[in-house]
Assembly symmetry: D2
């Protein structure tokens, strides 16, 4: 059972309710977000049904949800969640935004080149790693705050909202200062402390599926974020680990319609990390859109062969342009469109965005 | 190295060539198909290059192929293979045929109901199991020849070519007598004896990917068939086994563009077995077409809840009709179409097909 | 429900029983083995319980078994099955036999060398491939009957019972003529026709686990064999396919105690195919014995680097001798022993074995 | 190339060296541990070989290591690393310590009961979760510092060193204050920031293998810790995720001899989490010791059915006692022993330990 407290409930009301529930031998878990306090009530189902939750003062609603994930489930909320990003992008609606950029921000010039090319193509959002989770301690670990600054300068100039990964609760303030969207990487999908932290901020979060996470575990991790008060969660399928070695991972596209059925949250797909090679990206991007994806995340680099990481899976801007041509009719075929921004007007709008940040 | 003999080579020419190759310390493997004799030459690469294969009489061509699969590779043949099925269906061309029908043929009446519904929708091909590989010895194992007869009666009436599985070399003659397309099931993908046998007949073969087969192993199994003389092989992705349990298997759609790159053979997708549940089939069928599939294989039953096997994954005819509506714009978006037959004209054509069989 | 008929039941008794069961709306599956006829009764559980099976004449017993595997389950038979092989080997008892030999029989001389070395070490059983399931049609496919002859000559000389794979129902008579134990390879674990055939012969069968088979599927395949009348089934864990690539497969040793709990059949382990490299074989053989394995299957070759297949995982006779030294104290630690034969006495016994074959 | 600086090198020496390396177009990664500074030099192999590293002042050694993991590899250090824990336990030597205790510390009394039972059996180390990574935000998350206090009181009384998980860099100081051994859980194996942090403390670390981590990735994560200065890393195999669902995970025991070959670090096994059920634990614990494990980690609870987490896999003290009886002969069979402490003498020694903590 999920009990949602009214926004203006008092501490006393909460204390009374908890005391009453615990007196019945049930366990409670209180998630206090910035905006909402939620109580998970756990224990014998028959006992739970005896508690008249909604008759307590301070209680807004009580949801008897069978799934272990509650707030993210379609049972809890039927209509699709649409996440607003920056001033001009919506994710989860009819128009499908593409998030593109380099794996890691390697320097100001190369980032600018990439971003300008993408902006010229009307790609609405920029991704780029500032803090990079690298398998080896001897590999390039990212430029850190410098990368964040370069990215926010791009936003200033182009109006593109920026997406970047946060790896450590201790970096959250810093990343939050610059980014429009926080990304939780595949290796941190079950870093529950980090999930709890991003659950307490007011920016959208892209949560990548762990490379061997089940759909249920994936939704439970989203539940961590939402139960702490941040409802702007975007799920990202990015390939799972299997025995097949021709592709880096196996893109589990059926996760898209499955997630859309189980949750109201938007679902995007990252074919670059799933496949680890560019030649299959166009076909699988089209397939992702046909399967119902609400967005795509793609690695783009102006000189993939020089990239410090993930060059093998980075599209050139030209390949990105060709892909956009292919995606549009597929999006239309499933009743949607590919979100494209217009250079000029965006530049104007970018100021507003810049000021906000 | 793959040495292809001329169709009219003599036994003496073959003997001479083999003697010469083996004298050099190389090993040979001769595949004699009904129409083509092929010699695989294995051993030290430098030695192989010294042999002037094409100067031997009886030799048509010699192919130095690096991949372990030779005849099925794009290196060996650049253009797409298009497989002709019956008189009116082509698989591997622009128009995408759908192969639909029940998991198992359970009786004449229910088969007729299903087939008529599919025929009414313009679905060009009928699938149905006569010999069923069942995990339990106590489960329904198929009606055997009776099922084949019922299916060929449907073909007589509707003109739909029929696809059915062959599980045992000893059934091959029987199945061959009735079927238009032989299917090798996922559990038999590495039943090399069966592959060798279907390599020696003149009917198209749908080869399903083993549930834990790598792409390379899949192609090696196709190579078994082609190297024995039967070039009409259709590859079918049907899901691989992973840790995820929300779907029966994980549909590896990236196998489609990957296979299309590595081989000239057509590639189809079976979402029904991959997913094991109907709710995800529409989205994943659209995705398969967007990814470049040359055909779809779908389970359809008039009363799924009564099916003796695989009811949970069988579409109703109505769901199939809805799916066709969805598939057509997606096919157009990628420059293709969904192959639909017309009831009346097909009936006329069906006689011809019937006479042939 | 599993209904076991008396050995001397009449056709009439069977017909009557089936008619009665089917009249109730239940389905039946009759497995007629050489020695036993078994009826699987499937359908509504409440209905099944109403049928007074044991009061029908001709019925020996009726077993309401919840597991989908019936005859192989511990529920059906509590005590361990011990399989007698040849005149002198028992598998499933306290003494643990080792089955060793080359992957493929490559020629008489090399086989004799290997076998003599093994015999000298007291290894009680010889394995060797005559028909080889090879991923590539261009690879060495085995010497066929010639290999069987060489192996039976070894048995004549040494008394070692021989184990060899049968891949095709059509080879069964031939293999049966020479072999003491028939092996079903990993790729054929769900070749249900082949299972049905080996279920009808009177020789022990080693059934290898499919490389992505669940424990339940493994037991269902054993059930195919036993339900057709052959109770001498030996299960062999040989590694499952996972993402890990340092070893060829992942040896799932927990399958040993798990199977010993679920079934009365003996369980052996093949570390050679699981690991694909010799360096880990000693440790994992010790681990297998400690986990409760009833036997080990190991690849041994006198010159591994020259082996036509699987050289990388073949132990030398010296390594085999060292391994035996290590295994003995581990076997004793778990209350068992390693079965060793004595050269001289075995030679005498070998005649008897030879005459039988 | 790994360049190890002398303990007393100056900042100037380091700067000079880095400047020289970078001038050649090579990249460097400096890991400054408390006791050792290490430089990873990355780039063109030919270029690297030209640099006369050891002739620079301040450089102790330069290791051209081919594996991506350097400091943890057997190439780097041939002899086994033995980790000292508390005053009386060594892990990595002949005597095999067992680390046992509840999944989570649930309260003082139940912990005391468990610990006293274990201490009475001579189990040398206590495990218990204070901060619990739970899939659901509504599950019991651990008692936090309270649990750490209860555990350190146990140590005070019994002398048992305590092992507990750290999930968040921000908890490290707190956990470090109480624990003798820090545990990094499976979900944090690639939480590189956390690895970096525990690489900078002076306590042993048990690093659990990620549930879908390859052996190479596992070693790279250990390299993170060691390259930051903490050499006391203990690797723990705890099962990998596969398709098999009869066990919670698949215990990959071959990881034990494989790791022992590739690295000098000690390797322990956690059968409780791998199997998720108690019935297979005795057999697999014996197998782990036979495979060469340097330690075992086991969940023990006085009343498993009441445990707030992982009850299904917790042994009772009686089952633990029985297991010890089984393990001892297996350990002797492979030339080792099971480390047992003696109640009385340990109590005396515990004071020393208590004072230190």
């Amino acid at each position: 059972m999920i009990v949602v407290m009214k926004p203006d409930h008092t501490q006393e009301e909460l204390r009374d309710l908890l005391a009453r529930i615990e007196k019945m031998g049930l366990r409670t878990h209180v998630s206090k977000g910035e905006r909402r306090t939620i109580i998970g009530v756990i224990g014998d189902r028959a006992l739970i049904q005896e508690v008249p939750f909604t008759s307590f003062s301070g209680v807004e609603a009580a949801h008897p949800i069978l799934q272990p994930y509650k707030l993210v489930s379609r049972e809890f909320k039927e209509e699709d969640t649409v996440v607003r990003i920056g001033d001009h992008v919506e994710l989860g609606g009819k128009a499908i935004p593409i998030i593109a950029g380099p794996c890691a921000v390697e320097g100001r010039e190369v980032l600018d080149e990439i971003a300008d090319a993408l902006h010229g193509l009307g790609v609405p959002m920029l991704r780029g790693g500032a803090f990079k989770p690298r398998t080896s301690p001897y590999s390039f670990q990212g430029l850190g705050e410098l990368a964040l600054k370069y990215m926010s300068d791009v936003r200033e100039r182009t109006g593109m909202p920026i997406v970047t990964e946060v790896m450590d609760p201790r970096d959250l303030l810093l990343v939050h200062k610059y980014a429009d969207v926080l990304q939780i990487g595949t290796r941190n999908m079950q870093n529950f402390r980090l999930l709890t932290e991003v659950g307490q901020v007011d920016k959208p979060v892209i949560l990548k599926r762990g490379m061997s996470a089940t759909i249920k575990e994936f939704l439970m991790s989203a539940e961590y974020i939402v139960s702490h008060g941040n409802e702007k969660v975007i799920l990202c399928e990015r390939g799972i680990r299997t025995f097949e070695s021709e592709t880096r991972n196996t893109l589990d596209l059926s996760a898209v319609p499955l997630l859309k059925k189980l949750t109201h949250l938007p679902v995007i797909v990252d074919p670059s990390h799933a496949l680890g090679r560019t030649d299959l990206i166009p076909a699988m991007s089209c397939a992702a859109v046909a399967a119902g994806a609400d967005g795509l995340m793609l690695e783009v680099h102006v000189r993939p062969q020089e990239a410090l990481s993930d060059g093998a899976q980075s599209l050139t801007p030209q390949a990105m342009a060709d892909l956009l041509q292919k995606l549009e009719p597929v999006a239309r075929a499933v009743g949607r469109s590919i979100l494209r921004t217009d250079g000029d007007s965006t530049r104007n709008r970018s100021k507003a965005v810049g000021e906000e940040a």
